[in-house]
Structure formats: structure tokens, C-alpha cells
Symmetry: D2
Subunit: 139 residues, 4 copies
């Protein structure tokens, strides 16, 4: 299973080379991460952070930017979870351009569950562990 | 008197029209506001917010974008203070392109002193009142 | 008549004061402007720029930020057109928070039609003039 | 040899978790890349792109975010070049917090030289090859 959301490239996301500025591409991936909580987990990420006092900062990133992305492109960003550890979760994001089906981004990230008060790692709360585990795709 | 700082247009600040995306221009003005606290007031803005628990959110903005700004441009952003009220301060930002001296942005903004705990308006602390008053240019 | 689109505040849009960084609020208004072309005008803004070679840079802005906007807020951004000139259009954006109906932003902006090759002002092409005119609300 | 530049964390770079939003950290690395051209190579990146018609888009990224970065932090971003290929260059960025010397970011990136007209890979022009080669640190 996996979670997919749609992200549109915006006018201001473009850089002087005429393609989407790569830091903004990470913003797109984070939008998918936020939507995952809201739509898939049923708890908007603001509530996860502010009420449940759990955050998931990114500590490791491995990305291939396979194609330049341009204004007018719309991306289907898919999130799967190759591995759920004790405190850390490995998340694989792929971004596919809807117009031609080209895979433009593959990004494997490690996020760590932290207590939002102390910012120290904690075991992933079981509810989130279950949620992430449901996105463990065979790929 | 006034305060001036230098801001460089960055590769990623450009939009699909090939000029600096106007929301990013407001980021430049805010950088000048931050530098004003650090360099002119001698207290970095993080300390103003976190130790003195005072913030200055922007509530009103009147801007003229007089010239398109491009990658490669460097701007001298000048801050003057036309008016200091009880809780609010009017700040005039101008951004002049260094290569040709063209005034590219004029932005008159009202910021309000707030208590960072309650986010409610407070009288401007006297130290900051004095600082702002020293930037009241005749213009 | 008017055009309304929905914009969600994102995790990364927040500033050190815990509210949406005001330059990012202008990004939200621009998203509404882009969606207006795609949904209301039926021509995505990338095509307006790249095929019709017409752009609408912002030259004047008057904004009231009426309420702080926070992570978790969703905004209904409405665009109306108080005035259509020869080359310039006045656009009024309002952003209403969906949870409580509070109007958080009012921004009156002037955009100018330019030829994307020369970046010089041109008379607003009649098709766009008609479109803007259909959004002239009585307010 | 290596190239180092200083980047200040800005008020608006912070996210809802109170730390610098990680996509903005990539913006800091790109600022260092731009400054490398201007200061170390003696040709500002806008000229490299617009006059020499050469760009260096990022195609691969491997990053460790070792410490959360906060408002008030200033980073020394160092760029070294572990490998210069025919069209591609491997660049290692490290960001060290100046207040305590903590290494906060390590990011190994591959950029590819492209012709800015065709956006196709080209052999790295010899002048840039020499420049990159001068930053090949022993690490």
C-alpha cells in the first residue's frame, strides 16, 4: 500500500535556469508527508505536533532528481515506507509527472520520532507505527 | 538617520517570468528588518523575540514595485521610521539596485509591538522606541 | 462575480514567531491568481506566459494583515477586480480562514499586462479584459 | 583546498517545529554554490548561466542533517569537490554552526554541466574543471 497526493508546480517555484528550484522540490515532498497524516492517518500534522507532541524531523536524505521539472507540471507524489525502526522511519518518496508519467524524483528519507517538548528521540507511538507499517510497499 | 543593509538576489528567488518573485522581495525587506536589530540596535532579533519576548508582526503594507529585479542584482535596502506610535511603528523600506542606482521598491509598513507570550499589542518598550526614533528621517 | 480558491497553510510557511511568515502570505495570493487563470479563465498561467507571451507582474500592493495565520489554518482566497484599466488591472484579494470565517488578509494589488518578450506594458488583450471584467464585484 | 561562506538563518526559514525547515537548508547550500562562483571562480553564477550558457543542475543528493538548526544560528558552509568527472562534479557541502563548532549538515551532491540552451549535458568547460579541481580536498 502507498499514499499519493497531487502537487502543482507554482510560478514562484522556478529558478533562474527555468526549472523548479531543487529546494522547492523538497517542499513538495514535505507537503505529501503532511497530507499523509491528514488524509491517510486521519490526524492533521498540526495536531500530531501540537496535541500529541510528536514530530518527525528529517535526518537523512538520498535523492535522485531524474528529470527537470517545469512550471505547468503537476506531480503525483507517492509515499511508501520501506522500513519502520524503533524511533526512525524510512520513507520513499517518488514524484511522477502527470502529463507523461515520467518519474522525476526518487527520495529516500529517514525521519525520527521526537518528543516536541524535549526534541529528543522517542519510540514511535504505536498508532503511527501501525500507520507507517500499512504503507510498506513490496518495492 | 537611517539603516542600510545589502541583499543579494539569489538563483532560487527568480520566478517563471525571469524576475524576482515579489513575495521574495518582502523576504529581502524582512532581512533588512532583522539586520537593523542586530547591527543598529545591537540586539539580534532572535534575542528580542526569545529573551525580551517582544515581536513586531507586520499588519499593514503599501508597496510600489518600481522596477523588475533580476538575478545578478544586489540591493541596498534602507529602513527609515516615519512615525513611532504607542504600539505601532511605521517603517519605510526602499531598495536601490547597486549597479545603476535605480530605486526598485518602496514599501511603507506598519508593525505592531506584541508580547510574544500572549501575541497581544503592548506599548513599544522604551529602548526600542528610542531606537526607532533615531531612524526618523526627514523624508 | 468573484473567484475563490482554497489554500492550506504549510508546515514550512511558519516563522520563528509561530505564525505564517508574511511573504508566504503573498505566495498564497499568487497561487489564487494562478488558479484564477486555470480554473476561471480556462488557460493555465504557464500557457498565458509561454504561448500567449503575456505576463501580469505586480507593481503596487496595499495590504492589511488583519489576523495572524497559523499552521492548521486553511484559507479561502477570493479574487475580485475593482478596476480594469488600459494596461493595468486592480485586483482585490481577501483571505478568509475557513474554521471561523475570520477575514485575515485584504490586499489590493495592481498588476500590469506586459509583453513577455520585451517586458514592456501592452494593452490588456481583449480576452483577458473580458475575464477580469467578469470579476468586477460590487464591493 | 576548499571554499567557505557564511550563511545566517533567517526568521522566515523556521518551521512549525521551531527549527530551520530542511528545504531551506538546501537553499543555504545553494547560496554557498553561488558564492563559490562569484568569490572563488571570479565569475558570478548569473554570468556563468547567461553569458557562458552553462548551468549545473543538481541530479543527486545524499545528506545527513546531524543537528537541528535554529533561528539565531549562523553557519559556515564549506564546499569541497571529491570528484570531477567528464560532465558531472561531486560536491561535498558541510555546514558548521559558528557558535559551537557543531557540524549540522553534510551533503554530497552531484551536479551536471548542461548547455543552458538545450539543457543537455556537456563536458565541463576546462576553466570550470580547473576551478573545481582546485577544491579537491584530501578528505
Amino acid at each position: 500500500m502507498s499514499y499519493t497526493t497531487i502537487v502543482k508546480v507554482r510560478f514562484g517555484d522556478i529558478d533562474h535556469a527555468g526549472i523548479a528550484y531543487y529546494p522547492n522540490l523538497y517542499h513538495y515532498l514535505h507537503i505529501a508527508f503532511e497530507e499523509f497524516f491528514e488524509e491517510f492517518a486521519g490526524t492533521p500534522y498540526p495536531e500530531v505536533l501540537d496535541k500529541e507532541k510528536v514530530g518527525f524531523p528529517t535526518v537523512k536524505v538520498e535523492t535522485q532528481f531524474l528529470k527537470p521539472i517545469r512550471y505547468g507540471d503537476t506531480l503525483a507524489v507517492t509515499l511508501t515506507v520501506p522500513r519502520v525502526g524503533r524511533s526512525s522511519v524510512e520513507i520513499l518518496f517518488t514524484a511522477v509527472r502527470r502529463s507523461d508519467g515520467a518519474c522525476c524524483i526518487e527520495s529516500r528519507q529517514t525521519v525520527v520520532a521526537v518528543d516536541m517538548t524535549s526534541f529528543l528521540p522517542i519510540p514511535i507511538p504505536s498508532r503511527f507505527r501501525d500507520l507507517f507499517s500499512r504503507c510498506t510497499s513490496p518495492a
